[in-house]
């Protein structure tokens, strides 16, 4: 029984170790979702899109139709490290509201994240958004269940019709209020629509206790409704690529991100437009 307990501790420790090694270099404790975003190396702080709207809530009002979506990330091909995510966005005038839920883990370790978000266009050149997050970490055995609430917020500015700059802040509460040691993260980036079929973006992200991560990626519409994506993240020297195809009200995306030591993480997502 004692040996089993030790094995459990080791396995949980390994899980925590893997959790720090995010496949692409996103916010370690934030919601990592979107195969399209994964294909661009998560250089999506200013890129319009369903899942991008949960990476920077200021992008929410750029969703003109109600949508819901599901996503599955298979990290390094290990099923215990898989993450399932579902979300929905509903436009309300100049604003949009969104909800997202993410589940990670297996029997002995689970992490659930739920978020409620709202984004609004403040003017022709400015949009802002905020999301309230509720985190739960459950571990079997003698470990406690860990719960906390935090928030994240973002801002988008448009210097020109085809250029956007933006920033996103995750978990910025002072330690005296949040009572947890989860990292704070700041992302700053810019993106440009080089033509109707080509978008390129770059961003810098830093989490407390971590080094600066630089990311860049592009999305190219090779033929109508078929998009090719690629990107690079300096964290773990991660090359990323992916594709997406839109059929009627459904968009299907596939994304692959590499890790310099741990292999490939694949993602798939389906986005459904309601009207």
């Amino acid at each position: 029984m004692k040996q089993l307990s030790s094995l459990l501790k080791i396995s949980v420790s390994l899980i925590f170790l893997f959790l720090q090694m995010t496949a692409s270099g996103g916010i370690p404790y934030g919601i990592q979702a979107g195969a399209g975003e994964a294909g661009m190396g998560y250089a999506c702080v200013v890129k319009e899109g369903f899942w991008s709207s949960f990476h920077n809530q200021a992008l929410l009002p750029f969703n003109n139709t109600a949508q819901f979506a599901v996503n599955y990330e298979n990290r390094f091909g290990i099923k215990e490290l898989g993450t399932s995510t579902a979300g929905a966005i509903i436009p309300v005038g100049k604003a949009s509201v969104g909800a997202v839920y993410s589940h990670f883990g297996y029997t002995d370790f689970k992490r659930d994240i739920a978020g409620l978000a709202c984004g609004v266009k403040l003017s022709e050149k400015i949009a802002a958004g905020v999301q309230i997050d509720y985190f739960t970490e459950r571990t079997s055995g003698e470990y406690n269940t860990h719960r906390f609430v935090s928030f994240e917020a973002g801002l988008i500015a448009m210097p020109a019709d085809n250029i956007r700059v933006g920033c996103h802040l995750f978990n910025p509460l002072p330690n005296s209020l949040r009572k947890n040691n989860q990292p704070v993260s700041l992302s700053v980036g810019a993106g440009i629509d080089l033509s109707n079929i080509l978008f390129a973006g770059a961003e810098a992200e830093m989490s407390s206790g971590s080094n600066l991560t630089l990311r860049t990626g592009f999305e190219y519409e090779a033929v109508k409704n078929l998009r090719l994506r690629a990107g690079f993240s300096t964290r773990n020297n991660s090359f990323c690529f992916g594709t997406g195809y839109e059929i009627g009200f459904v968009t299907m995306d596939l994304g692959f991100t590499t890790h310099d030591r741990l292999g490939v993480t694949s993602s798939v997502s389906f986005i459904f437009k309601i009207k």
């Binding site: 400015i126 002072p174 700041l186 700053v188």
Partner: protein, 544 residues
Amino acid sequence: MIIPFASITGTETTIPDAVRIRHLVITNLSYKTGGDDSASLGSALKMLTKYKFLAGSFTGGLIFEKDQGEKFFSPGTMSPDFISANIAYTGKGLVRRVILGDYSVRFGQGLNLNTGISTGLSLTSQGYMSATNEIKPYTSTDENIFFRGIATQLAIKNADISLFCSRNNIDATIGTENGNSGDYIGSFYKSGSHNTLSLLQKRDAVSESVYGINLSYNFRIISIGIAWSENRFSLPAMPDYNTPEKIFSFRGRTNNVASFYYTSLIKKILLFGEVSANDIKKHAIVQGMSFRPSDRLIINFQYWKYAPGYTSFHGKGPGGSSGSYSEQSLLGNFTFEAARHLFIRGGCYIQHFPWLKYRCSSPSTGVKRELGFKYMPGEKLVFDWLYSYRYSMADNSTTAGIPALKKTISRSLKMVSRYSVYNNLTLGTRIDYKIIDPSGSKGVQLLQDISFRPENVPVTFWLRYCIFRTDDWDSRIYSWENDLLYTYSIPAMYGKGSRFYIMAGWKISGKAELRFKYGVLSESETTGLITDTEEFRLQLKIFI
């Protein structure tokens, strides 16, 4: 370049029968958590109040200050820890200025006399010439550098004469030689903080008398001047000569300094310089040149040398306080508009210290270089990149005996972009990267600034969020912050953590302004715990 030769005068106006009196009051309150030290005599609250009145040709000022940990009233007295006051007359005829009370003085390049605040040398400044000669009412809070007494400035055609006389008590560590207390000055204490009993004993421990004269004359293409000053202390200064670093430090009661300075504009070349010597025949020299071969190019050079043994207690030449330690330095830089909206700037600063100094037990050298690019594609968008290189020496404390000097090279890259979305909304992003050789320690920082002024509301908000990570103190990163009016804040970020502040400024009916700043510095300890240091600052400015 022409600033020293330009004088701005107001238009002649009819003086009203009754001169209107205007009042300016500024009060600052600052509090930082974690500052409640049990050894401190007073509270952790820092307080500063400045009052100034203007009545025609007369002005007056009063300053009270209490530093963190000090008692508001000095023990045994009913006066604040620091109090300063003055009254001044400014005229246009023979008598240009008379000041009674506390004042500051600057002549020439500052080798002999310069009691202003030194902001350090920027390698990419567009010029290095000191501003014009002046005596002015003291408005700062440094508790030891100012003069207290009377000063006057007279002008006759192109000639200018300044006379001043001061007697002030300054802080010092007093030593004993024959068992009696108060025999000699062991060292001067300049920080101004008196928050413990031992520091309180240094307060106003020595009386300093200073008097001097400055004569200057403007010729057609050259302006020249001479200045002389004498310091007298109530006790002799006797630094510890067993410490080699202090062998050339000032010894005695009296120090005389005389200097000659000039400024000349010859076509597109501005020349300026000063030579100064004290009564033990030790000298200091400053020579500078500013050259503008075209409207798009400015080149500057400056050389200075402070010989060992040269001391000026109220001088402040380039590179630091004159005479704090001997130094021989050369600085050069340029600013070039390479293309439309594109500016390139660079500079190099070579220092040689022929004698020992703080943390250097042997003669040492230092080099700084900078290269920057600034691109402004429009009025609303600015990109600014700056690469800095710094070579320095310091004692290697791990070696036995006389410490060998450890050479350290620091390279840093700063990238700033600033975008004004609207006139009332500006976004700023900055990335810093620093690497230290040979230790290999690194520092990186990402920060986001937002300043916002809502329409129809006289309130401006400044926000910053910054995340940093440095391996040690050597790879620390400095970040200038918006702060209360007439103050500044440039904290050093090191370790792992984040920094956030929000500041609001409310302009109340054009006659008052209220500013409030709240900041948090979150730092990760080696144990993984995060500690927060919170900071509150409040300022009220009234101008009626």
